[in-house]
């Protein structure tokens, strides 16, 4: 019905209208019906698969994954070798050749060495105590200066105890073992690059 109407609108002589004009009735003049559009195919029948085959398929998939996992675990235990960390075999073989004959120390020598170490410990302790005392002295001097500054002016004191933001970064070098030589040109050495290439 609706389609016919739409077509009649397009046609030059509207046929439907004429019919409607001629018949007097409460129902629609055209009594045939158009079925609704379905736009779909009838459903296909489900294929039935043998449950044994399904089971076998599942099994195969599981085995495949398990195999992969096993392979990964095996590799996890074996670390990637690092050349630098492995002692070269030729060095292991010639280890005996490189050993020094063991030193036989006399009793007096051992005694002297032990005494020297004890004396060294005492020496270092004195040095340490001296250092601590010096740090204490210097800190006390600063504390005293700050106290006197506080008595003089609180504003100046507050400025003085602010952190010094220009101090960092702080670099210092030296002292060195021998004095630097002025205008010294270091001789050109041979530079052999032995680092490995890891391009491919």
């Amino acid at each position: 019905m609706s389609i016919l109407r739409q077509f009649s609108r397009l046609s030059i002589c509207p046929t439907v209208k004429f019919q409607l004009n001629r018949n007097i009735s409460t129902t629609s003049a055209l009594t045939f019906k158009i079925t609704e559009q379905l736009w779909a195919e009838p459903m296909k029948k489900k294929k039935k698969i043998d449950p044994a085959i399904v089971k076998a398929r599942e099994e195969r998939r599981r085995k495949k994954i398990e195999k992969q996992i096993r392979r990964l675990e095996k590799n996890a235990r074996q670390l990637k070798p690092i050349d630098e960390l492995e002692v070269p075999l030729h060095l292991m073989d010639s280890l005996k050749k490189y050993k020094r004959p063991p030193v036989q120390l006399s009793v007096e020598e051992i005694e002297a060495r032990e005494l020297l170490q004890k004396e060294w410990a005492r020496y270092k302790r004195d040095e340490y105590m001296n250092n601590i005392a010096q740090v204490d002295r210097i800190m006390a001097a600063q504390r005293r200066a700050l106290d006197r500054l506080y008595e003089e002016s609180e504003d100046l004191y507050n400025e003085a105890i602010m952190p010094d933001l220009q101090l960092l970064p702080y670099t210092i070098s030296g002292p060195v073992a021998t004095p630097p030589i002025k205008d010294y040109e270091s001789p050109d050495g041979e530079y052999i690059d032995v680092s490995k290439k890891w391009d491919n």
Binding site: K99, Y123, Q134, I138, A141, A145, L146, A160, P163
Partner: protein, 259 residues
């Protein structure tokens, strides 16, 4: 409890105020002194004990060490030479003709003896020139200037008056620029003064009883003073040249040298 602590805080605050009001009655000049120190360039000489222990450590290390390739080669060379002398048939001709370990060692020693290390005693040391930083490389040096106080001149650290509106650190930086020159590169270590010294004027000057000097510490980096003659003094020389009490106040915040 809270009231108690509050009261205590109040009391300390007023106590401080009181101290300040009392102490500020006699007016003092505020001065800033700058202690510019050149740190040692070369490590100090080893003491007897350090030398002994170093020797000991070296021998122990040698005893525990493996032979070097050079030593192995030296031993091989000796063996080959003996075989060569005995005219044995095992002589490896190639091994005999090449450069032996001993030759290499001699060449290396010769090169080493030719190399001249920098001299610890610099030109300034030889001339007794105290104005250069290139002296006494193993010691701490402190910069001092000559100042006229009244009629006589004294050796003092660079110092100057604090001006209204400055922090003491700014005063210190200004004084270094004004009195010594801006080419001298130094590094101040802190915003806080590291030392203190006060002295009374012989008679009141501009209504001020005396001067309070707050010392600032800085490290020498590079450059030379341009505006005034300065001396770089070691600890011992400081002790001799500075006025006694002043020297004591300065020594209070300096690292003591043990050699």
């Amino acid at each position: 409890m809270l009231v108690k602590t509050l009261m205590r805080m109040n009391i300390t605050y007023y106590h401080r105020l009181l101290i300040r009001s009392i102490s500020s009655k006699p007016a003092w000049d505020i001065l800033t002194g700058i202690c510019i120190e050149r740190l040692p360039v070369v490590t100090p000489p080893l003491t007897e004990m350090q030398k002994k222990y170093k020797e000991f450590l070296l021998t122990v290390e040698f005893e525990k060490s493996m032979k070097s390739n050079h030593e192995i080669q030296h031993e091989n060379d000796k063996k080959q030479a003996e075989l060569f002398k005995a005219e044995s048939q095992d002589v490896d001709i190639d091994a005999v003709n090449k450069v032996t370990a001993q030759d290499f060692e001699d060449a290396a020693n010769e090169e080493y003896s030719k190399f001249k290390f920098g001299n610890l005693e610099t030109d300034a040391d030889k001339k007794g020139d105290k104005t250069s930083t290139e002296r006494c490389l193993q010691r701490h040096l402190v910069l001092v200037t000559q100042r006229k106080l009244g009629n006589d001149s004294k050796t003092l650290l660079p110092q100057g008056h604090w001006q209204e509106g400055e922090t003491l650190r700014q005063t210190a930086e200004r004084i270094v620029k004004e009195q010594i020159g801006s080419e001298l590169q130094i590094k101040f270590i802190s915003n806080a003064p590291c030392g203190f010294y006060k002295y009374k004027y012989p008679s009141e000057m501009n209504g001020k009883v005396g001067a309070k000097i707050f010392f600032y510490y800085a490290n020498y980096k590079s450059g030379n003073p341009t505006k005034s003659k300065v001396n770089w003094l070691t600890r011992k020389e400081l002790d001799e040249m500075l006025p006694q009490k002043y020297s004591n106040a300065v020594k209070e915040f300096l690292i003591e040298e043990t050699y």
